[in-house]
């Protein structure tokens, strides 16, 4: 039969792991970056676009990185005409929805980097979701 052609079989075999990985990943991240800081500053902010690829809500509960002492999920909030930061204990991603972490809104607050990070450096941060899902994301340091 036509579909038994080796090229077709090869394609199907090659695509299977990708499809499986995507389904398993459940959530994907892109455009992940950290803002480079002035010298002497030990607090950084991380931004990204999170995409929930599943038809269930996904809840981000923690973030960890071996490159930093602490990583906190944060949100810049408005309080009486002032802005401040609030710890967001968990952030829900709606089914098949995207959530933007951007300046002035949701961000990861990263404390005490283990080494000085400059524009162009990369740092891995693991995003932990309820139910045990862990998504490793490579963040690029940008100016």
């Amino acid at each position: 039969m036509r579909w038994r052609h080796p090229v077709f079989v090869g394609l199907i075999l090659a695509l299977t792991p990708i499809a499986a990985a995507t389904e398993e990943a459940g959530v994907s991240a892109r455009d992940a970056w950290l803002r480079e800081t002035p010298p002497g500053v030990a607090v950084m902010a991380g931004y990204m676009l999170l995409q929930n690829n599943t038809s269930r809500p996904q809840v981000l509960v923690a973030a960890r990185s071996s490159g930093f002492e602490t990583v906190v999920i944060h949100r810049t909030i408005v309080k009486g005409g002032m802005i401040g930061m609030g710890h967001a204990p968990q952030i829900e991603l709606l089914p098949n929805a995207r959530l933007l972490f951007a300046p002035g809104g949701h961000h990861l607050m990263l404390l005490n980097p283990k080494r000085a990070l400059r524009a162009g450096d990369r740092v891995d941060i693991h995003l932990e979701f309820r139910g045990g899902l862990v998504l490793p994301v490579a963040f690029e340091v940008r100016k």
Partner: protein
């Protein structure tokens, strides 16, 4: 006869160009969400800060220049670096304008003098722009200037807590060369939005502001 017609036509063109320019300027300076302009700018009164080179920074330092003021603190990961990077780009735009930026200064006012020493402030502001000033003062002095600008802030110092929360206004305040509170830029801030409006305002105010 011909000369008169040509001359008249030229005058009309000049007049049209002038009108267009003025209307253009006015249109840009109509109240909008980016900049609030005060028709009757309020003269500021005395306060005493210290700048990042340990020099006194008081009311006299606001005279003779347009000053962009922003309140924040160096341990701020999100809004402060975002705003200072935006202001650095706005400054670049103003430098490139025909008038330049000799009569303009950018001042970062730390509301967290407990952690932000002169040395730290210097390192911090010059990372964004070598011409930026970092200043701070004690709580009473910070309150004096912040109060006049309606710039609220709150530092929730907690003993033993390394990263205590700080709340501050995200607006950028514009003080004119007579040390009067002239305009305020509201977030979200963008460099072009700020520099374009500032250049028009400075041109309209011209010598009367100085």
């Amino acid at each position: 006869m011909m000369t008169t017609v040509v001359l008249a036509a030229m005058l009309v063109v000049v007049w049209l160009a002038a009108t267009y320019r003025e209307n253009g300027s006015r249109a840009i300076l109509l109240p909008d969400q980016v900049m609030t302009l005060f028709p009757d700018p309020k003269p500021l009164t005395a306060f005493a800060f210290t700048d990042h080179e340990n020099r006194a920074f008081d009311l006299s330092r606001l005279k003779g220049k347009w000053s962009f003021l922003f309140f924040g603190y160096t341990h701020c990961p999100d809004i402060c670096p975002t705003t200072l990077a935006t202001l650095a780009r706005a400054h670049e735009n103003i430098v490139k304008s025909t008038v330049g930026a000799k009569d303009v200064q950018f001042v970062f006012i730390s509301v967290d003098p407990n952690r932000d020493t002169a040395g730290k402030l210097g390192q911090y502001v010059s990372y964004f722009d070598a011409t930026f000033l970092g200043v701070t003062g004690d709580n009473a002095q910070l309150g004096k200037l912040a109060g006049q600008l309606g710039a609220a802030y709150e530092v929730a110092i907690t003993p033993g807590m390394e990263n205590y929360p700080v709340y501050h206004t995200a607006a950028v305040f514009l003080v004119d060369p007579r040390a009067r509170y002239h305009a305020v830029f509201a977030p979200p801030l963008d460099a072009e939005g700020i520099s374009r409006r500032f250049n028009v305002l400075r041109e309209l105010e011209g010598p009367k502001a100085t």
